[in-house]
Amino acid sequence: MGAELGNYKSCVSARSTDKELLKHAQDGGIVSSLFAFALDEGIIDGAIVAANKEFYAKYPSKCMQDNSNFDMIEPWRPIPAIVTTKAELIAAAGTKYNISPNMNLLKEATRSFGLDKIGIVGTPCQMQAVRKAQLYPIGMRDVGASIALAVGIFCMENFPYQSIIQLVEDHAAMKMESVKKMEIGKGKFWVYGKRGQIVQLPLKVTHKYEQAGCHVCLDYVANLGDISTGSVGSPDGWSTVFVRSKIGDSVWGKAMAAGCFETQPIEKVKPGLELVTKLANEKISKNKKTLEERATFGVGKALRNPYI
């Protein structure tokens, strides 16, 4: 293949040097640290992230304002929110493993939130949506040039919220509100309880709960982010970072110069890029096959292919 990791200028294994951020981070605290640095430096004046119930209780005016009744919202359901301070970043940190419609806030960020320089974090498909919105801004008036830093996260697949309930409550037999952290790694879905209990589910249990739309996705490592990051390829507590665009290169360079991250060459760490490449190829081949199957899904009838 060869194109499975997308274009990138550099790749390292990295970890935030901010101990406080690391305490709340999913892995190496890359996204939180990058946004904290970019906020401090005025590179961005706000970032769109996936927050949650507890965040909403503290910062209601920073959350998406629509018809949703966030007072009733369930634990672990993501709420897209705009963060402008480090405290807010910490309150929103960590992976939620279900769908946060961050694009929904992109236009509103430039309107009622008044941002001129937006940071946004999202999955590979959300990075595709960001770039489509820049090139074909059908209803995204004055938004494209306001996107100052788009950070993509590695993603094998995502789950609807109800699937997470099914996995946590039915399979792992834990209450949603008692979960401290969820994680996918080492071939398992891990649920960590607040009292210290740990449940692991084999991924073959989780597959049937995946979001259907993920099965035609041909991007594992967020090829269209300015910077993309994920735990795969790096040791525990570290993250693999791809620096991709000119914007990404400039922000990463400044953050490194400011001492925001400690890094190791990706060639020196285990399991390294070999595993990232392997998983990327697995995802892409599996989903290309799905696309082929969709072409002959019925009797003389195909399912739609979104790619042209």
Binding site: P101, Q126, L135, I138, G139, R141, D142, Q211, K246
Partner: protein, 253 residues
């Protein structure tokens, strides 16, 4: 200047919002007019209003088929233009004019409105109510490259415009329902929220990671479906976003 493209603008049953969106390119519009575009006719922004022979014509608004002049104008636009671009939701899909039923002063008998694609062959759609100024700008630059550019630029412009040509071939009706029938029902929705961000009437909210439409509010503009990354997506074009954005900005420097 000999290598400018000639452009016209036909204004039918539309609210002038698309004209305003074009004008909202400010200095960018002036650069377009200076270097790339010879604007032959256009109500509101030019002195000449009558349809002439041009390379590209933009059409704003739907056609009132009870209005003889409007019907003649859309036909004449087709006859005299190499490329016809439907600009905005009304020209592409009927949009809010789909709800017209006559009775308004001072032409109460003007009750039937059709998107231009129901009367003529349309080459390119620019959906949106109104389309963003940047979308109009991008298509205008690409139209110029298509007609006057180098071989490489022509290929880029062709790839860029292809989905908008396919949209023109696809049909003349749009609705929030397109997200249900062509994205969610097809197992393609990824819950990103692009659709709800761009809905001009805020008819869409994201509920549990999927769009939920208040169908009575939908004005049938087609913005949600066309902005969706799973309606149409070209890796060839979007993967080159950085170079394309830079080329467009450089063209307007």
């Amino acid at each position: 200047m000999a290598d400018k493209i000639t452009v016209g603008y036909t204004h039918l049953s539309g609210c002038t919002g698309c004209t305003v969106a074009l004008a909202d390119n400010y200095a960018g519009l002036l650069t377009l007019l200076d270097r790339y575009v010879d604007l032959k006719y256009m109500p509101t922004l030019a002195d000449a209003r009558h349809i002439q022979k041009v390379d590209v014509s933009f059409v704003e608004g739907s056609v009132c088929i009870n209005d003889k002049l409007a019907v003649e104008e859309i036909k004449e636009t087709r006859e005299k233009s190499a490329v016809v671009v439907a600009l905005g939701g009304c020209a592409c899909y009927g949009n809010i004019t789909r709800f017209g039923r006559g009775g308004q002063q001072n032409q109460p008998a003007h009750e039937a409105y059709l998107p231009i694609g129901d009367l003529i062959k349309v080459d390119v759609y620019i959906p949106g109510c109104a389309p963003s100024p940047q979308m109009i700008r991008n298509v205008a630059v690409m139209a110029y490259l298509l007609l006057k550019g180098t071989k490489e630029q022509k290929d880029l412009a062709t790839a860029f415009l292809k989905p908008l040509m396919m949209a023109a071939d696809k049909g003349t009706s749009a609705c929030f329902c397109d997200l249900m029938t062509n994205v969610i029902n097809q197992g393609l929705c990824i819950g990103c929220g692009s659709c709800s961000a761009v809905c001009p009437v805020r008819a869409i909210t994201m509920e549990y990671g999927k769009p939920n439409g208040e169908r009575d509010l939908c004005i049938k503009c087609g913005a949600c479906y066309n902005q969706c990354p799973r309606s149409w997506f070209s890796f060839d074009v979007v993967s080159n976003y950085e170079a394309i954005n830079e080329a467009i900005m450089a063209a307007l420097q």
